[in-house]
């Protein structure tokens, strides 16, 4: 019974994390970059939004500014990677660390900024889960439509090709470095947007928000795509799948909490889920490869033996 009571909250939070996973999808799946900026930029989004709302800025405007701040963090990682030649993973880690300091200074040196849900009008809050689901759902629909339109423009198509085949892209006159920066900006903008929604939903921004966010994003992507790729492997269905993955992740999360697992172990659980999704295809491929070579060896031995008897 408790589980069903917790379900609306799990769905609302799952939607927000699903939105963040869409940001991760843009960097990880489209640009082919494992962008670790995410752990910092989601927190940046939350901090910017919380501080702005507390200072009387309307919630919708705070969310847009949080998006812009997140995009900026993506630009920093992108420039580390393209202009300074730092490997993309390391570039993300560096920005993430920079953002810890930046986020602290946004919060004015405190580790937490509460948002008063009664004196401020918020887009969503955990006190009203159905409303939160509606608001998060509406924002997600807008984001998916924008991305869908964007990735069919002239610029958007080259962004896809940049991740898919940089050699081909350069040969076709695409500025691959610019596209990587642009793509990381979009990705982290969306992540920070999710961070802003999360801060409103929880009613606070915490300096530790977002630790391990990349892993949650990847888990949502893997869970979602494992289903959506079987239905129809196109862009919009994939994104909807990723959102679904976020929701499933949070339902599992709640379920596990319900079973009595200490919340201390939840991050470990997320990491194990992602490791499993990455390892299974690899091990499967390896297993079949061995089976194939075993069969080939057996066949060769059999034909050899056959040859001997004939002789």
């Amino acid at each position: 019974m408790y589980f069903f009571n917790a379900l609306p909250g799990a769905i609302a939070e799952g939607l927000i994390w699903g939105l963040m996973a869409i940001g991760v999808y843009v960097s990880y799946k489209i640009l082919d970059i494992a962008d670790l900026t995410v752990d910092g930029s989601i927190c940046t989004g939350a901090c910017v939004c919380a501080v702005l709302i507390t200072n009387g800025v309307p919630a919708w405007l705070s969310v847009l500014i949080a998006f812009a701040a997140g995009a900026l963090t993506g630009v920093v990682t992108g420039l580390f990677h393209t202009a300074l030649g730092i490997p993309s993973i390391l570039a993300g880690i560096l920005t993430q660390l920079i953002l810890y300091s930046v986020n602290l200074s946004i919060l004015g040196g405190k580790s937490l900024q509460a948002i008063d849900a009664r004196s401020n009008t918020l887009l969503l809050h955990m006190s009203n889960n159905p409303g939160a689901i509606l608001a998060a759902g509406a924002i997600i629909v807008v984001v998916i439509i924008c991305l869908w339109l964007f990735f069919y423009t002239e610029v958007g198509l080259t962004l896809k090709s940049t991740g898919d085949n940089p050699d081909m892209s350069r040969a076709q006159g695409v500025n691959v470095n610019f596209n990587k920066v642009l793509g990381l900006a979009i990705a982290n903008g969306i992540v920070a947007l999710a961070g802003a929604l999360l801060a409103q939903y929880k009613g606070s921004a915490n300096i530790n928000d977002g630790r391990g966010a990349i892993v949650i994003g990847l888990a949502a992507i893997f869970i979602g795509l494992s289903v959506s790729m079987k239905i129809k492997p196109n862009f919009v269905v994939s994104l909807i799948g990723v959102i679904g993955g976020g929701i499933v992740y949070y339902i599992i999360y709640n379920f596990v909490v319900l079973l009595g697992l200490k919340t201390d172990y939840l991050k470990m659980l997320s990491a194990i889920i992602v490791a499993l999704f990455l390892a299974v295809p690899y091990l499967k491929g390896k297993y079949f490869e061995t089976q194939k070579s075993k069969r080939a060896l057996a066949a060769a031995a059999a034909s050899h033996a056959g040859g001997d008897t004939n002789a």
């Binding site: 423009t153 002239e154 610029v155 896809k160 090709s161 695409v174």
Partner: protein, 264 residues
């Protein structure tokens, strides 16, 4: 059309792996020239092509395309002048994108890409007609992901992509080497057709001596970072493989050596 002057490139300078790849190379191509390039291992054929394409900067010398000095122009900028087909069929197309998406990206090579619809309706019709001319049945598979196609089909599409936006210079880097003989012949036939129809100036590296003789109007042979044989017109038409081997031995003082060379 293309003017290379005193081009030099050394890889890994100052290390034990130091390799002088180009030694003061000079080459001038006239408008409409179709030049085939042959040479032994490490002769500098691909190095020359990559220098023209801007994959890396030369140590010394200049490259001009149609009067524009492109020596230090970034790769994606000089792509506006160049059509390229690579040896690896996987390299020229984006596998996870549809055929029509690949073509539309290529059709906008050298233009400023905007936030407008990336594939126009009229384009689809045009691509269908062009794909039909390849004779591979691809005209009905516009929305197929390129990664599902065979190597030969991908090379054919890459050729089409290289010529959609007419390049000033077409660079073919052993683009049939990874294909089976029958497919290679088909792709070469397509190459001839596309080059002739669009009157393209072309530089084609090949490891097949007969192909080098039978295609194009001029043949150059490279050795140790320079051009050692350069024949064109009637003289080229009369060449035989034996002649080429003889010319090579005379120019280099060595036997022709290329792991993959096909002599017959």
């Amino acid at each position: 059309m293309l003017k290379i002057t005193n081009l030099q490139k050394t890889f890994n300078p100052g290390t034990v792996n130091e390799k002088v790849a180009l030694k003061g190379l000079d080459l001038t191509l006239k408008d409409g020239d179709f030049v085939t390039v042959i040479g032994g291992n490490g002769a500098g054929k691909s190095t020359m092509l990559n220098a023209i394409a801007g994959v890396w900067k030369p140590d010394f010398g200049t490259i001009e395309i149609d009067g524009v000095n492109v020596t230090y122009m970034p790769e994606h900028k000089r792509a506006q002048y160049l059509g390229r087909v690579f040896q690896d069929p996987m390299k020229g197309t984006a596998p996870d994108m549809e055929i029509v998406e690949n073509l539309s990206i290529a059709a906008r090579r050298g233009t400023k890409r905007k936030l407008i619809w990336g594939i126009k309706k009229a384009e689809r019709e045009q691509y269908k007609e062009l794909l039909a001319t390849l004779g591979l049945g691809l005209e009905t598979r516009l929305t197929t992901k390129v990664g599902l196609l065979s190597g030969g089909q991908r090379q054919a599409i890459t050729l089409l992509m290289a010529s959609l936006q007419r390049p000033k210079l077409l660079l073919l880097d052993e683009h049939t080497a990874a294909l089976d003989p029958k497919t290679a012949a088909k792709v070469l036939e397509l190459t001839d057709k596309i080059v002739q129809e669009n009157e393209l100036t072309t530089l084609m590296i090949t490891h097949n001596m007969r192909d080098a003789i039978e295609h194009g109007n001029r043949l150059i042979m490279m050795h140790e970072g320079n051009i050692v044989v350069d024949v064109e017109g009637e003289e080229k038409k009369k060449l035989t493989v034996e002649d080429l081997l003889g010319l090579f031995a005379k120019a280099s003082g060595k036997e022709f050596a290329n792991d993959r060379a096909i002599l017959s």
